[in-house]
């Protein structure tokens, strides 16, 4: 294949691809806003309440239904544990006397099992994920932009074809 | 196929068809290799099977060197040097054969002795399917090279008409390039499992 023939087509395609990528980015951002699932959200404060009588239940080996065994966070979330029980509870580094609350910010991606006094298993599983990020966005754009660009490129050729001779002449003028 | 009864002009036209055809075939084949890579990354993620690093490096080097000799062979033929051509292509053939023995005869047996059998989970499956697919291409490649070698000895090729040599060379380079993608995916990327 001749370079002079291929380049003008490639150039046009790349420009169109660029434009389409920008459009796709904007479009997918709108779709994103509409979509919203639990990991595609801004950081939040998440409250966990230890109800009265928890210690007694745990001592008997029973679980407290309102307390999850597994929690999923995204980076930037803050977990606020409020103790309404009559005994002090522990969660990893946190020590929470009755009637008070303590908080724990989520800083990095991790999968933890923290020692914990309000689960019969003595552990609370915590998964900290990155919020749906540029990676997902990039993936989305990479599925949207190329097909759009292909269509736009092909029809642009139907509207105004590329004449290699003309291109060459222009090159020469410069 | 040194059909000397065909005029050179016609031969050239056919040659350009053949070239395009071969490249299209390779494009098609590349999709299998790409899909195998995707399969590997989906199933194994950032882990990899435990394999003999020395052997991997060794056979990879061999294959690269064989590609060099293949290139020599083709150039010699293009200059009409029959002797040089035969020598270079024979070396390519032997190197290819050693590569094959290295993968199937040694690496597979080693892996098996470490418990990495085809039915040993995803790592085993991926390892054997990737090396197996590639080895299948190597086998067809060396068969092809062998045929070209024999025909070369019979004096079928000339400086103007040696499409068979060229095709074998392009195919062999393709097999080589495919391995350049497979090698890191199998031997280098990610942490060892199992």
């Amino acid at each position: 294949m001749n370079k002079e023939i291929v380049w003008p087509y490639l150039k046009r395609f790349l420009i169109i691809l660029l434009v389409c990528s920008v459009l796709a980015g904007v479009g997918s951002e709108i779709a994103f806003r509409v979509q919203r699932n639990n990991i595609d959200r801004g950081p939040q404060d998440i409250e966990l309440i230890i109800p009265a009588g928890t210690a007694a239940k745990v001592a008997k080996g029973q679980a407290v239904p309102s307390l999850p065994e597994e929690m999923v966070f995204i980076i930037g979330d803050v977990l606020i544990v409020q103790n309404e029980d009559s005994e002090t509870h522990e969660l990893g580094p946190l020590l929470i006397p009755p009637g008070t609350s303590a908080s724990m910010p989520m800083k990095e991606v991790d999968n933890l099992a923290l020692g914990c006094s309000f689960q019969p298993s003595n552990y609370l599983g915590m998964e900290i994920k990155e919020a749906t990020t540029w990676e997902t966005r990039l993936l989305a754009i990479s599925f949207v932009a190329p097909p759009t660009a292909i269509i736009a490129f092909l029809y642009s050729l139907a509207i105004r074809g590329i004449d290699p001779n003309e291109e060459l002449a222009e090159e020469k003028k410069k | 196929m040194a059909a000397h009864e065909v005029p050179l002009k016609e031969y050239r036209a056919k040659l350009s068809n053949n070239r395009l055809g071969l490249w299209l075939f390779l494009l098609s084949d590349a999709f299998v290799f790409a899909a195998l890579l995707v399969t590997r990354f989906v199933l194994l993620g950032d882990t990899r099977p435990e394999l003999s690093q020395g052997l991997g490096l060794g056979i990879t080097a061999l294959l690269l060197v064989s590609s060099f000799f293949m290139n020599r062979a083709e150039t010699e033929m293009a200059h009409g040097n029959q002797k040089g051509f035969l020598k270079a292509i024979l070396i390519t053939f032997i190197l290819g054969l050693i590569f094959l023995v290295g993968v199937i005869g040694v690496e597979w047996q080693l892996a098996k002795s470490h418990g990495l059998t085809p039915d040993a989970g995803q790592a085993g499956a991926i390892f054997y399917v990737m090396t197996g697919f590639h080895a299948f291409h190597v086998i067809t490649g060396i068969l092809f090279i062998w045929i070209v070698y024999r025909n070369g000895k019979r004096g079928v090729y000339t400086a103007e008409r040696h499409w068979g040599v060229e095709a074998a060379a392009v195919y062999w380079h393709f097999v080589d390039v495919a391995w350049i993608f497979f090698y890191p995916a199998l031997y280098l990327m990610g942490t060892v499992i199992g």
Binding site: T148, I150, L154 | F31, L43, G121, Y128, N151, G164
Partner: protein, 641 residues
């Protein structure tokens, strides 16, 4: 010269011998490895033996039929000629049953095989449709089918009505798709060289190989029925296909061979189109069908590899325990679906693009008007083909794939409506203010537009995720794709068969029976498919052997079955008409349709060598109504020639 000495028969005999040898080979290997070598009841032992036999058998067929002969000679340094003149000692039909390199012969071979396979798929459809005509399992469980499968002692016997239903249904799907691929091969092989002024395809031997590999492929496909069938649908999703009866192996191997045909056929098409056009025929002066075939070939060349790979991985998992897709032990079943649909979605555009090409080719001829927006139609084919690579996951909206990606796939899926729309609007522009004539091929072309329109507009509801959650795996989808397939393939195929009939037989078909064929097929089909869509919305799932009478759809089911029979008999009438006309029809001489296209400027039937002398393109292909020519059949030699 007896039929039993034809290449085809030699191939069959070789396949039988090869199968036995292959089975022996596996038995031998097992014996050497110290495994239990043979068992006539233990399917685990039998499976590798039979697969080995099938593989060697298929290869033997190809060797026996003789497609490799020239290549074997090449390996020995012997040169061969591209064109064998027909052997005067052999009857003219002989060439159709043996390896022949002429593209016209190969085109007809593809076409006839396609119709036979289509008939087979149709019979399967009617069998399972009878089962569905009433609620309750009441047809396929009768004793007749037990006899058919050799009774109780057969380790592969089917276990009852629902099992047989599933096998017939799955086989219907796959056999029909094989018929489509064969039909596409027929159109592109027969037409491309004629349309672009070449005397053959670029690689005649490869072309013969690409045809003949279908034959053992089809044999394997159908043999699955005798090895327990396969209850997986044509999609063969694991883990179900990992547990399915042995027939699934034959199905996957058969598909693999048919896939090889697509790959090699498409190489030929692309090279021929790029390299072998007549002087003066720029890309934008090619007959429009060639654009469509070219776009089709791009898909076939690349995507086909992935269905081959995905099926191979399933076969390996069954045979060697290599775990790719069983999620209980770490595999990933969704991965299979991605690999599978990466081919199988673009494949649906393989089904329709050549048909679109035929429609675009015929409308101008019978409207006596230029094709409206040639470039736009040409680029739409390319657009559909290329965008088709980016939409595969719309078959997986409910599959449990990564949830967020459903939105970009929804968009790209809908985007295909744009180039398809351009085609439709341009077709309307083509017939607008034309002087329309309505012989059978034109009826089929117009029917194709209408039927595909129904199929096309029912695509977007599938394409938006939320509505697809309701529609997925219902008869709505069944209705959708029968419409797209009939509109994009079946109707255009028959349009092409009737239109070029004089070109390959030298005779004229019977117009009356052609019209009966059209109206029967058109009306029968729409009753069938509109009812399918309706019951699908109401809750009729796909791939079920029996349904809940409480859905209130029994009446519609009954009519679908009746309409299916109408379609079958309409096509049968068409086939008889074609056979009769080919034998006894009126001689058709010259440019029957007053077409500008080059193939109509040469005698009927097309001579052995298409164009003794290459023509020159001097005008536009579709300038009907202007005193000018598209091609100059007797050009003055160019300067320097």
């Amino acid at each position: 010269m007896s039929f039993f000495k034809s290449g085809f028969m030699r191939g069959l005999i070789a396949q039988i011998i090869g199968t036995v040898l292959g089975m022996g080979l596996v038995v031998g290997i097992r014996a050497i490895l110290g495994l239990e070598a043979w068992s006539s009841t233990n399917l685990e032992i039998l499976e590798p033996i039979i697969v080995g036999g099938a593989l060697v058998g298929a290869l033997s067929f190809l060797i026996g039929v003789g497609v490799f002969s020239d290549w074997f000679k090449w390996t020995k340094g012997i040169s061969t000629v591209d064109h064998h003149d027909p052997d005067p000692e052999k009857p003219s039909w002989w060439r159709y049953f043996s390896v022949d390199f002429d593209h016209k012969i190969i085109g007809i071979q593809y076409g006839v095989t396609s119709l036979i396979v289509l008939g087979l798929g149709g019979v399967f459809a009617l069998l399972f449709r009878i089962e569905l005509s009433q609620a309750g399992i009441n047809f396929l469980n009768n004793g007749f089918f037990d006899l058919f499968f050799f009774g109780d002692t057969n380790p592969f016997r089917h276990s009852g009505g629902a099992d047989l239903y599933n096998s017939f249904m799955s086989l219907h799907g796959m056999v029909m798709i094989a018929a489509i691929l064969l039909g596409v091969g027929a159109m592109s092989n027969y037409l491309i060289p004629l349309l672009i002024g070449a005397n053959d395809m670029a690689f005649p031997r490869l072309n013969a190989f690409a045809y003949w590999v279908n034959v053992p492929g089809a044999i394997l496909l159908v043999s699955s029925l005798f090895l327990g069938g396969f209850d997986t649908g044509w999609t063969g999703y694991p883990p179900l296909s990992l547990r399915a009866p042995l027939g699934v192996q034959m199905f996957m191997m058969g598909v693999y061979l048919v896939g090889l045909s697509s790959i090699f056929g498409s190489i030929n098409v692309i090279v021929t189109v790029i390299k072998m056009r007549a002087p003066g025929m720029t890309m934008f002066k090619m007959p429009i069908f060639v654009w469509a075939a070219f776009a089709t070939a791009i898909i076939q060349l690349t995507a086909t590899q992935l269905i081959g790979l995905s099926f191979q991985l399933v076969m390996f998992q069954r045979l060697l325990g290599m775990n790719f897709f069983d999620s209980v032990t770490g595999g990933n079943p969704v991965l299979f679906q991605h690999l599978f649909w990466f081919y199988s979605h673009p494949a649906v555009y393989v089904f329709v693009l050549p048909g679109f090409g035929v429609i675009s080719e015929l409308l101008p001829v019978f409207s006596r008007k230029p094709l409206f927006g040639y470039k736009w139609i040409a680029f739409s084919s390319m657009g559909i083909a290329l965008v088709g690579f980016f939409v595969w996951a719309h078959h997986m909206f409910t599959s449990g794939m990564t949830a967020y990606l459903r939105v970009p796939f929804m968009y790209s899926t809908l985007l295909v409506a744009v180039p398809t729309g351009v085609k439709f609007f341009s077709w309307v522009g083509t017939v607008w203010k034309g002087k329309l004539r309505f012989p059978t091929p034109m009826l089929f072309a117009l029917g194709a537009v209408v039927v595909f329109l129904v199929g096309g507009v029912t695509g977007p509801p599938n394409g938006t995720v939320a509505t697809d959650l309701h529609l997925h795996d219902t008869y709505w989808v069944v209705g959708h794709f029968h419409n797209t397939i009939f509109g994009g393939f079946m109707f255009p195929l028959f349009a092409a068969i009737y239109f070029w009939f004089p070109k390959y037989t030298g005779k004229m078909y019977n117009e009356f029976w052609g019209k009966v064929h059209f109206w029967g097929m058109f009306i029968g089909f729409e009753i069938m498919s509109l009812s399918q869509m309706k019951i699908g919305l109401l809750g009729m799932r796909r791939r079920i052997a029996d349904y809940d009478p409480a859905l209130g759809i029994e009446n519609a089911q009954y009519w679908i079955t009746i309409a299916g029979f109408v379609v079958f008999f309409a096509v049968l009438i068409g086939a008889i008409n074609l056979i009769q006309s080919a034998r006894k029809g009126k001689i058709a001489e010259g440019n029957v349709w007053e077409s500008r296209s080059p193939e109509w400027q040469i005698p009927n039937p097309a001579p052995l060598i298409n164009y003794e002398k290459p023509f020159h393109v001097v005008g536009e292909p579709y300038d009907y109504g202007i005193e000018s020519d598209y091609v100059d059949m007797n050009p003055a030699p160019l300067v320097g020639e």
